[in-house]
Symmetry: C2
Subunit: 178 residues, 2 copies
DNA sequence: CTGCATCCTTAAGGATACTG
DNA sequence: CAGTATCCTTAAGGATGCAG
């Protein structure tokens, strides 16, 4: 998505109409990705509550680099979802709030977020069932089941570390409140 | 937003503590990211229409590698949103459909997608205003012609659209027929 | 056809330093 | 405080090959 500095000089000095690889298309897909983006979701939900200053958002969301927060806010502002009010004072004070458009989006997003919260139990149960089925299926092929382990031996991690079938994935949670 | 943190493919058959993963946040945040993930959104919307075979989904969605489609489907299946029906025939035939849980999620997602479509005009207008304001504001000591920018490339938004001023509007876009 | 595994490229995201 | 610019690490995603 980003140009990044790794752009070949040849490309820069010879712009032209850009051969269009996968140029503009369904624009609304992009907007959807903006509002459902990792930080976009959190920003919208926070701003639905009340306007926030930059640092307030940063603290409220937690674990977000200022770089990403800035990027997210700029994108949402450009899309007309967030209003940015920069007061020319020292030290600088900038307030972010939702526009009418942004409020609509934020409400949809919040609805989705609420849903995941309400249905969390069902999801967790499904995961346990899935993992359990997988585990028993892989480790102990039942007679008559016809699921012989072929050669899929000890599963390994990225670094090649073999790992026996499983236990609790460690969770160094921080329990953020959405 | 990605689907993968839940099931990085290797994770499916090799459940275990991977080096660095952010399964740390509140669990419902993860589910939210699954359903709002790039391919997750498209899969859910397609399946809302009717059950699909693997290759049908692939074609319907378009430009999605089978790797990503597989990963997305596995994640959604594990979360209990998608039902997988693998028929033991040759050649293999696998049908994917929504569970009750998945239908609820898909409807929320579809609502959000519809919203972006309905409000697209407003968003585009906002973008034009934003870019225009930026451009006039940035315009300054310009004596010669468009000399190749030295090193200060345009700041970008999340979607990669560079600031006005210019050239190289490298927009990473998707042409999906949602 | 469906799916798993591996390599490899690119983009996202974090850390840091600097500015107004 | 609120950014901007840069570097650098990690993760996402695509291509390919193989198996059932």
């Amino acid at each position: 998505m980003t140009v990044s500095e790794g752009v070949p000089a040849s490309r820069v000095s010879a712009p032209g109409p850009l051969p269009s690889e996968r140029e503009a298309m369904c624009p609304h897909r992009l907007v959807l990705e903006h509002v459902t983006s990792r930080w976009g979701v959190l920003v919208l939900i926070r701003l639905l509550e009340r306007p926030h200053r930059f640092s307030e958002l940063r603290r409220a969301i937690g674990r977000v680099s200022e770089k990403m927060l800035t990027q997210t806010l700029q994108t949402l502002e450009r899309d007309g979802l967030v209003h940015r009010d920069a007061q020319p004072v020292i030290p600088p004070r900038v307030d972010y709030s939702l526009t009418g458009l942004g409020r609509e989006a934020a409400e949809q997003v919040r609805a989705l977020a609420s849903w995941t919260e309400r249905r969390m139990d069902g999801v967790l149960a499904a995961r346990r069932a899935y993992d359990e089925a997988r585990r028993t299926h892989t480790e102990a092929p039942r007679s008559g089941d016809g699921t012989p382990r072929t050669h899929t031996e000890a599963p390994r991690a990225v670094d090649g570390t073999p790992r026996a079938g499983g236990e609790a994935p460690r969770v160094d949670d921080e329990a953020r409140t959405l």
